[in-house]
Symmetry: C2
Amino acid sequence: MHTKITTPENDRFLRACRSESVDCTPIWLMRQAGRYMPEYRALRDRYTILEMIRTPELAAEVTMQPLRSFDLDAAIIFADILTLLDELGLGLRFIEGEGPVFDQPVRTTGDLKRMEPRPPAESLAYTLDAIHCTLDKLENRIPLIGFSGAPYTLACYAIEGRGSRDFPSAKKVMYTDPELWDQLMGLLADQVGDYLVAQVEAGVHAVQLFDSWAGSLSPQDYTRYVMPYSQRVYAKVRACSDLPFIHFATGSAGILKEIHQAAGTVTGVDWRIRIEEARELIGPDVPVQGNLDPLALLGPEEEIKRQAGAVLDAVKGQAGHIFNLGHGIHKTTDPGKVKTLVDFVHAYSRRET
Amino acid sequence: MHTKITTPENDRFLRACRSESVDCTPIWLMRQAGRYMPEYRALRDRYTILEMIRTPELAAEVTMQPLRSFDLDAAIIFADILTLLDELGLGLRFIEGEGPVFDQPVRTTGDLKRMEPRPPAESLAYTLDAIHCTLDKLENRIPLIGFSGAPYTLACYAIEGRGSRDFPSAKKVMYTDPELWDQLMGLLADQVGDYLVAQVEAGVHAVQLFDSWAGSLSPQDYTRYVMPYSQRVYAKVRACSDLPFIHFATGSAGILKEIHQAAGTVTGVDWRIRIEEARELIGPDVPVQGNLDPLALLGPEEEIKRQAGAVLDAVKGQAGHIFNLGHGIHKTTDPGKVKTLVDFVHAYSRRET
């Protein structure tokens, strides 16, 4: 099914993604639907994360929650980058206090062969249904963003079986077993590409590729072992759509050029590099998204405004900036501080432009 | 006591730290004495880490262990950045599988007041004794490096009470309680500075300041909340010594200029930025130390040589390069691979210069 894309009433986000003029800087926040919100926690008391993701009505409801409290310029579908791996048979569980764990990690060619990839349009149909459901609720007011984890980040989880500080098992496979690496990364690239295409066909207005752990790589290793697979993802999406494609990695100050080169029309920038230096690295005409430290939201209001103002000042008068955090909202964040930030970004950038 | 510094027989490391000519590139490795070595694990079976650090003969023995197996160009005293906090009364314990934990973290001015700082020359005398003992054993063959954690990294541990991915409690204090932050960072800067001075007076040939978690900061926050205290450390050391001072942080690609500006005559570079780009950022005449991914040592020999060769090629013909990993040796590393790396770096750089 190919939904006709209509321009939402508020198209600031989409315009900024295309470096077009805007009345003020658009803002959305990674993990804007999450545990920091009491209404999210109320649902989480009754359902597991996976139940919430796999029930389209619930996923749509969670997607809508932050939009009722904050004047955000985009919604992002509530889902998780790891469901794709779960649907490949890796056995995802979320353990309280430890995070995600896979009971069937992929360490050998045998493990890989046990995986039974189905088209993501089937295996992840619940997220596509959640997109339909959310689009109905949004009534074309603001754009909806779809997303996926990138092949490298998914491969890290698949091989380690859990989060890690430095991913020794994944890198060991990368260095010692190029064939297994290529098979796993190739399979994931196809799955991720098809998944993003399916989300585009379901009607999202933009997609974001999260390569959360790419910042664990040297620029040389990223280029050699990862970039070709992210390029394959990008090519699949580009073959069917010219929608904005945001490519985001954390801790990526030293590989930003490579991240931009691999994929995307917009580059996500985390807070550990000045946004003006990021623009110099990737080219001043490339739209950028970022880059406030999410933990700045733990500070007092004047600190939040000072830091957000500094980000806006650094790209003042330049087209192609979407305000965001450099990573997801921290679970201890006061929702009132999120409102302060969102309203400040609009008011300050409107005044300044 | 102020030991007269004499130049060691092998002074490649010291010469490279001063950008002087060398016959081949010097190499030492962070955490070169550690769990990857069977002889280290044999001692660890009998003693706790803190016993090993606090018994000068044992600390000296551990310091010497890697020198018997590998042709390293510098030794680094066996110690831990966290003993300084333990001696301030924070109650350090190492928990298997979890890492270091402090029973008395610092969250309030009251917590801070309970600390009873003594001169590090007294409180950390065991490490100074270990330095004397090691210098005796080294018989002036190669230089000995002293070190300390930097104020920010120590403050993160002091406030969080343990390691963390993003240090929310530390940043919350930094943003919301500037007075407590200044008092804690000031106290730590004085302790760290005095500790490094004491190590210099005990006879080390160079020092390294480890700001392991500085990479969690935006360049703006590093400059505002951290740099002044690292500058204070550096000023203390510089007031009594012109020995090489290496300043190292991980994940620092976006704050390298600031790291260099804050402290040091040599800048440590982790693997997540090309070393030639690091040199462009901080200035081509600043000596650099780095920058192989420690996990490259989990790869086959040809991969190790390929990656180490690429680092050497990137700074070929340039003075002021000390080869090192971009972080400590991983505990699962095969010691044979370490030997391969050390010998390769010497042979390849000798051939190439």
